[in-house]
């Protein structure tokens, strides 16, 4: 457990967080404190049902805590309206889901460019360095997706390839925070590590802080910091 450091603005700072699932009795999710500083890679471990996805939802600003504070890049989410939270997420966060990351009706390139359609900031950042298309293909190339896949429909790709596209999408426009929710659980074991290596490498390249949740402790090896949600919250899973 890391005490809140007296450093410049942390990327994520949770304080006395309490969330109760709607319509469910019980204690809900409690996180007394959790802080991520810029550039940090945190592997957050927790068994199924321990509230990992809920925590990500709270950080991403789609769920609202019952009590306590969630600060992202210095902004207290509980003080922001829905639209402002959505904008914050679109501009500063990249999110990779477990699977089904891609819109089936868009090409691979268009899927990667999706955040640039909703966030002017990320679009502007990409355009500073070159064209939208060249940045999308650069990221896809870095993440090892063969060029012949770039113009294909997202559904024509294997699960592993889809996850790479999702990673490229999460990283385009250099968001400050990369949130990954079990992104490797649909991959076979030998590809999991390779994917994580690529993801972390590119996150470093983009200067993104990484919040990675998984139930699989075997994946924790490459992370500088590992935490257990159960220990963090002390909740009975």
């Amino acid at each position: 457990m890391t005490p809140a450091p007296a450093e410049p603005t942390p990327v994520v700072a949770l304080h006395d967080l309490h969330y109760r699932w709607p319509g469910q009795a019980g204690a809900g999710l409690r996180v007394p404190t959790l802080t991520l500083v810029a550039g940090e890679h945190l592997f957050l471990h927790g068994p199924s049902g321990s509230g990992k996805s809920t925590l990500l939802g709270l950080v991403a600003g789609v769920l609202r805590a019952e009590a306590g504070s969630v600060r992202v890049l210095g902004q207290a989410l509980e003080k922001l309206g829905g639209a402002a939270r959505d904008r914050l997420r679109g501009e500063h966060m990249g999110i990779v889901f477990q699977q089904f990351n891609l819109l089936p009706y868009l090409s691979v390139i268009d899927n990667v460019l999706l955040p640039c359609r909703f966030s002017a900031r990320r679009r502007a950042r990409v355009l500073q360095a070159g064209s939208l298309h060249s940045e999308a293909t650069r990221l896809l190339g870095r993440l090892g997706l063969p060029e012949d896949r770039w113009q294909k429909a997202a559904t024509a790709l294997s699960v592993g390839e889809q996850q790479r596209v999702a990673a490229a999408r999460a990283l385009i426009g250099r968001p400050e925070l990369l949130i990954a929710d079990e992104p490797t659980s649909a991959l076979d074991a030998e590809r999991q590590q390779a994917f994580i290596d690529l993801l972390l490498q590119e996150a470093d390249e983009a200067g993104a802080t990484v919040l990675f949740v998984s139930h699989d402790m075997r994946l924790a090896a490459r992370f500088a910091r590992v935490a257990s949600l159960t220990e963090l919250s002390g909740v009975a899973a």
Partner: protein
């Protein structure tokens, strides 16, 4: 907004098979609604076009609508006629500028035969006070030497491929019964009228004496047994018409129309009736407007069914798209964006359906127009959409947009509830 439109377009294209059926049903419903509206409009237009400059239509006392139908539109059969003396009286009345006596009842291959005088070609007006024009040949002579001359309306000539010099055998009555032909007294086409877009186009015009001549050896709608008078001999008979079906009357001054109407109604020798075409048309519209409203209501319901189909299709697809909504939320889409996305999709399908329906109708009226004109005498000639029709199209699109808000609102609630969790 462009991002949403692009996404909505791609998303709709991805589900084009399900959506295209919905689109088709909206297109058909649109074509139906617009078609009903257009036929209604064109029929009225046609009827109004058919009478111009006629102040009174005089016939036997009865319904004014039937009188108009057979005298002006040449639809249906005349049920009663008037004596020639009555027509003479009208012609000599001081308030009357001109009269056109009309004798009907025969037909030529389904087209009505009209017996009249040569004045018809000078006094008859249609549309915007236009007079008749011959595109070929001349008017019938109207004398005993030119008894068997006929002038064809443009549609008759075109449909039956007749030109001047052709010979016609008229049929007694309009039903075209076997054995009821005036085969012994064929007529010769001497002229063809230019197209008017009115009932004139479907009419075979002959002289009143011609009508008389083909019926001298007939009685009670049958050729008299054992009696046959050849055309050469028929001229020796008195061919003054004995009865006519109706008389179109033009007055010297329109202001006298009510006085004349009263004079006609008060005519002592025979019960007569004078009908003002405009008033009779209004009466006719009142009769048909009930039917029209039912037709409009039914087609509006068909449109509603199409839109309900649209809502059902989008709603049914929504549950399978909850992951998609989560992905959009993850990249910064607001729930409002999700709402707009779904509403746009419905709007796109509706607009495409309405456009397709409009095109379908244009094609149908171009394709079926000539047939409808030949069969029913109604010229469907509107090509462009008029303001009313554009209003209807806009109303369908509005209704489609409102209907699309149903799945859109559900998507909005789902995206708020689901957030980033990919439930399915």
């Amino acid at each position: 907004m462009t991002a949403l439109l692009h996404t909505a377009l791609r998303s709709a294209w991805n589900r084009r098979f399900a959506l295209s059926l919905t689109l088709l049903s909206i297109a058909l419903a649109t074509a139906l609604l617009l078609g009903v509206q257009r036929v209604r409009h064109d029929v009225r237009d046609n009827f109004v076009q058919s009478v111009s400059g006629t102040d009174l239509v005089v016939g036997a006392r009865g319904g004014s609508v039937p009188l108009m139908l057979y005298a002006v539109f040449r639809l249906g059969d005349a049920t009663a006629d008037i004596r020639w003396q009555s027509a003479q009286w009208l012609a000599q009345h001081p308030a009357v500028a001109w009269t056109l006596p009309l004798a009907m009842g025969d037909s030529y291959r389904g087209f009505p035969v009209l017996g009249t005088t040569t004045d018809y070609f000078t006094h008859y007006r249609y549309g915007d006070a236009q007079s008749l024009r011959l595109q070929d040949g001349r008017a019938f002579g109207g004398t005993t030497d030119t008894l068997f001359e006929a002038v064809l309306g443009a549609e008759v000539a075109e449909r039956l491929d007749h030109r001047t010099g052709d010979r016609l055998t008229l049929t007694h009555g309009s039903a075209g019964l076997e054995g009821a032909e005036h085969a012994d007294k064929p007529f010769t086409v001497v002229g063809v009228l230019a197209r008017t877009g009115t009932a004139v186009d479907r009419t075979v015009h002959i002289s009143l004496q011609g009508i008389e001549a083909i019926h001298v050896d007939w009685a009670g709608g049958m050729p008299m047994p054992g009696m046959s008078i050849p055309p050469e001999l028929v001229r020796k008979f008195d061919l003054t018409p004995k009865r006519v079906t109706a008389v179109l009357v033009g007055l010297k001054s329109r202001a006298q129309v009510f006085a004349m109407q009263r004079a006609v109604a008060g005519y002592a020798d025979e019960p007569l009736m004078g009908v003002m075409p405009g008033v009779a048309l209004d009466e006719l519209w009142q009769v048909v407007s009930v039917g029209e409203r039912v037709m409009l209501l039914v087609s509006a319901l068909v449109v509603a069914v199409g839109l309900v189909g649209l809502v059902a299709t989008i709603l049914a697809g929504l549950d399978a798209r909850r992951r998609e909504l989560a992905v959009l939320r993850a990249v910064g889409a607001r729930p409002l964006h999700i709402l707009l996305l779904l509403a746009l999709e419905g709007l796109l399908v509706t607009v495409a359906g309405v456009l397709l329906g409009g095109a379908l109708l244009a094609l149908l009226s171009a394709g079926l127009g000539p047939w409808v004109e030949a069969q029913y005498g109604v010229a469907l000639r509107s090509v462009a959409f008029n303001a009313d029709e554009l209003g209807l199209l806009a109303a369908i699109i509005m209704a489609g947009t409102l209907a699309s808000l149903v799945p859109a609102a559900r998507a909005y609630r789902l995206s708020l509830a689901d957030g980033l969790s990919q439930r399915f």
